[in-house]
């Protein structure tokens, strides 16, 4: 029997189309010949697989058709667990994120440290205390100076001052006002007038809050200055007002003209004025005068980022500080002048009168 004939018989046998007579014959053959039996089973299995494959294909097509009807995009948006995004991100990358954050924090701290932002002192603000160059060590120079001083028979210190500022007289009997930051930490404080004469002083009161210090000249060589020609303004001054200052940024008295630019000082400090005025280290503690010769403030500092901008503590805070001086700190009376004899004078004449009342403040410490 040929294979293809056998196949035909198997197919008709399996499909049940075989006539009953042939079927009995085939059954008998099947019993007799095991190979035929295996062939039947194999064929059944293989065609069964083809049928299953067909079923799978048609089911898949049905499912695809159904799937077409779903708006997967909208559904996807709805089902996406959005908050878990962050969580997943963290889960998968937490070690990297931690390292990055540590580096960032470290870098910020380092930057702050080197820019000085970590210290309380604001780098944009410079107090006008002058750091005088260290005493030069050359023996001959020092010796010459010493000799000069001895020869000239002047009173005063024999070593150079470490810090310098400016101060001005509150009264004729030797009360001087300067900045707290000028005399802070001083061992001894001297003032020197425009003629170059130095007088020993004592710090009798400080008000760090307003950056104000009151000195009293207690040097026997000091003679009364006479009534001060200016008065102290109690009211606030107006923006745009012409002002000027006198001070000792160097060895000579220097005049600085300017104008009042703001009613508040550095970082909105209400105790200060902001001014457009040229000042240098050494101007600290100098008086700020208005055109009529009233003291409206005391120079305290300048902004380093904007050239020409300086700050001055307002005169009414100066007056407050004076009022707070304990009575037993005063060995003489401290009566402020209420009469202003400068008002009618021109500026040059005002300055001529003022120069006797403005002092260089020299500070010594070890």
């Amino acid at each position: 029997m040929k294979d293809n004939q056998l196949l035909e018989m198997i197919e008709s046998y399996l499909s049940g189309e075989m006539p009953a007579g042939e079927r009995a014959q085939f059954d008998a053959l099947r019993k007799k010949d095991a190979t035929i039996d295996t062939k039947i089973a194999e064929h059944k299995h293989f065609t069964g697989l083809l049928k299953q494959y067909n079923e799978r294909l048609s089911l898949q097509n049905r499912l695809d058709e159904i799937h077409e009807e779903i708006d997967v995009h909208t559904l996807k948006d709805d089902l996406m667990a959005h908050p878990s995004w962050v969580v997943q991100m963290w889960r998968h990358h937490h070690s990297k994120i931690s390292v990055a954050a540590s580096i960032a924090i470290f870098a910020i701290l380092l930057t702050l440290y080197f820019t000085g932002d970590l210290s309380n002192r604001d780098p944009r603000f410079l107090q006008l205390k002058q750091d005088v160059e260290r005493l030069k060590k050359e023996q001959p120079a020092l010796g010459n100076k010493l000799n000069d001083i001895i020869k000239s028979n002047k009173t005063g210190p024999t070593i150079s001052a470490k810090f310098r500022g400016t101060g001005f007289a509150l009264t004729g009997n030797g009360y001087i006002v300067t900045n707290y930051h000028v005399v802070n930490g001083a061992d001894s404080v001297y003032v020197q007038n425009a003629e170059g004469e130095s007088f020993r002083t004592k710090v009798i009161y400080t008000e760090p809050q307003y950056d104000v210090a009151i000195l009293e000249i207690n040097d026997p060589a000091f003679k009364n200055l006479g009534t001060v020609p200016y008065s102290f303004k109690k009211a606030k001054s107006d923006l745009g007002e012409n002002v000027y200052t006198l001070g000792f940024p160097g060895d000579d008295l220097k005049f600085g003209p300017g104008a009042l630019t703001a009613g508040t000082g550095f970082h909105g400090d209400t105790t200060e004025y902001e001014m457009y005025i040229p000042v240098n280290p050494g101007n600290s503690g100098g008086p700020v005068m208005d055109e009529k010769g009233n003291v409206i403030g005391v120079i305290t500092g300048k902004q380093t980022q904007t050239s020409g901008v300086a700050f001055a503590v307002k005169s009414n805070y100066l007056l407050k500080a004076i009022q707070s001086i304990p009575a037993d700190s005063l060995s003489k009376s401290l009566n402020l002048s209420t009469k202003n004899t400068l008002a009618s004078l021109s500026r040059t004449q005002q300055i001529k009168k003022l120069r006797n009342y403005v002092f260089m403040v020299k500070v010594y410490n070890q």
Binding site: L59, R62, D64, E69, L75, D78, A81
Partner: protein
């Protein structure tokens, strides 16, 4: 939320009876009812919507065959069964793709279905082999095989379709084709 999430949920016994009766409408209801659940599982575990579709359809086929064979017992909710199959399939797929991150984010409870997925995959492999063999077979054999064994067309119809003048020629041709198909299938 999308209205597709609010599709009518068929009862579990409705689905079983529907599958046994080849009901298109029940199949559709079933499909629409649980697709969002599987989409959610896949897209929230490093997959996309096309992968979700593949996984889901495979799971439906597993269920379908199981019901057809008559050995499906409703020991759990249908929903849990489908979710478990999909979860298992997706885990395997993730591992194959090397995208498995160590844990899977679950949205449902699930059953252990490893054995069933295993069996399904064996069957699937056989059918894929068949698919490949048919592709390699070439015409006219492929169509003759499909017509006769898959679509149950009679030899008469096939004769007419291919213009064979006598039935014996067609039978011989069919026999040759089948032998070739078997050869291709078992060679793989």
């Amino acid at each position: 939320m999308n209205n597709q999430l609010n599709v009518e949920m068929p009862t579990d016994s409705e689905v079983i009876i529907g599958i046994l009766n080849n009901s298109d409408s029940v199949l559709k209801k079933l499909y629409l009812a649980y697709f969002p659940m599987v989409l959610q599982l896949v897209i929230n575990n490093n997959g996309d919507e096309d992968e979700a579709k593949d996984i889901y359809q495979e799971a439906i086929i597993v269920l379908y065959n199981k019901v057809k064979r008559g050995d499906f017992e409703l020991s759990s909710k249908l929903k849990t069964y489908i979710y478990s199959i999909c979860r298992r399939l997706w885990l395997k797929r993730l591992k194959q793709l090397n995208r498995y991150g160590g844990d899977i984010k679950d949205f449902q409870e699930y059953l252990p279905v490893e054995d069933e997925v295993e069996k399904h995959e064996e069957r699937d492999m056989q059918l894929n082999k068949m698919s490949d063999a048919l592709k390699l077979l070439g015409e006219p054999c492929k169509t003759i095989m499909e017509d006769f064994y898959m679509h149950n067309r009679s030899m008469q119809e096939i004769c007419e379709r291919f213009g064979y003048t006598n039935a014996d020629n067609a039978k011989t041709q069919k026999y040759k084709c089948l032998q070739r198909l078997k050869k291709l299938f078992f060679q793989q």
